[in-house]
Symmetry: C2
Subunit: 276 residues, 2 copies
Amino acid sequence: MSELWYTEKQTENFGITMKIKRTLHTEQTEFQHLEMVETEEFGNMLFLDGMVMTSEKDEFVYHEMAAHVPLFTHPNPENILVVGGGDGGVIREVLKHPSVKKATLVDIDGKVIEYSKKYLPEIAGKLEDPRVEVKVGDGFLHIAESENEYDVIIVDSTEPVGPAVNLFTKGFYAGISKALKEDGIFVAQSDNPWFTPDLIRNVQRDVREIFPITNLYICNIPTYPSGMWAFTIGSKKYDPLQAADERFHEIDTKYYTKELHKAAFVLPKFVKDLTK
Amino acid sequence: MSELWYTEKQTENFGITMKIKRTLHTEQTEFQHLEMVETEEFGNMLFLDGMVMTSEKDEFVYHEMAAHVPLFTHPNPENILVVGGGDGGVIREVLKHPSVKKATLVDIDGKVIEYSKKYLPEIAGKLEDPRVEVKVGDGFLHIAESENEYDVIIVDSTEPVGPAVNLFTKGFYAGISKALKEDGIFVAQSDNPWFTPDLIRNVQRDVREIFPITNLYICNIPTYPSGMWAFTIGSKKYDPLQAADERFHEIDTKYYTKELHKAAFVLPKFVKDLTK
């Protein structure tokens, strides 16, 4: 019997390849090429424009690290915005914090939400929670129209090609600052230091111009390029490294711990050099 | 023009694939299948039995983390043994410590040493250092014949299939304990928590029976399975987490820092659970 393998080119000259059981859905949406695939190794996986977005097996890493670092840094996160993230994984983690009263998701592509609910129910299930408002629309415009509103904004975007290109600009970071309350915190996924060092360097530089506390933290995601994934954090008031220990309470995680919250900011030398 | 890609299956159902410029050397040695390949993304790479051993682009991570964690934990490392590691990368890092008087390399396969010198000179070059003794032979036997001799032993082996199978046994760890001085330290590469959790759990359990201080630390290596690589450390006296700060002096590294020395032991929750 023949085998079907899905190969993602992560750079021009390197990729990962996965044996698949079957393709669940494939569609050219208004914004991107969407594929939902059932793999042997990682369970169901979502691809956009040929790039891995999430997999059932390793999704917890990205979603926990995107949500818990800012939400444990803020002393009382109540109103949260997630830009992108239509698979619902960041929202699921956000809702684990009892302080959260409202979580808004703004994803430009309703099809991502629709098919995540259908094929990634463990990830997307919490989008139905009464505290969640789901908006299909342009995150850049939503940010531009918001002022002094959010405690935490998490940018869970695709790469800066295609629909997410506006989400990697100084204008966007300035808008985020305006949309945040005076003690707000912002986190954005920032690709990886091995293959996209310039992206990390540029985002750090741009965010630092706007947020008094800017830093970078990393985690390990097997299905993402290089296995090392970076997040930029920009904060108006609270330092993520000073997050008060007494605020860490028991939440159910598989990757994040209160010790890892701080260790994730201890960067390998060549990565630290990108933040200078 | 056609393109040549080299695919390594890291599990039955998952792999990495690399565009190659050319194959530099391929040979069935007495012990394993050796391939030296020039890749576009990672420079020259060594494969044994189809598994990535090292690449010019990311080799520094493995070699620094294998060497500097035990050598900075020991207050005065003078006599070092590397089992395996015929590419010479661990030896190169060991020699950065001015206290080191002698470093012995025992690799079972002389062909690995020979072709690493030829095609990976930046990695293998220090094998010519006068402080280094290179032995082509069985590391298991060398350990069995050594007593109260080494300050640090680093096991830089292939996976526990083929020639390295003896290097993942309780008998080997007992031999290492005997070969070490009374305050000696031992480090072994221990594969990755995502695809081989049982290996990590078993090695931790076996080493803990012999060494009073046993721990696990991790690093990120893009060309290794899952991008997260683990090392087991067993120590008779010195705790790697108590390594004295004043002993960290300036050495030339790209990954290791004195802060990362400790942060590397802060494990994601699902990894920490493997060490219990």
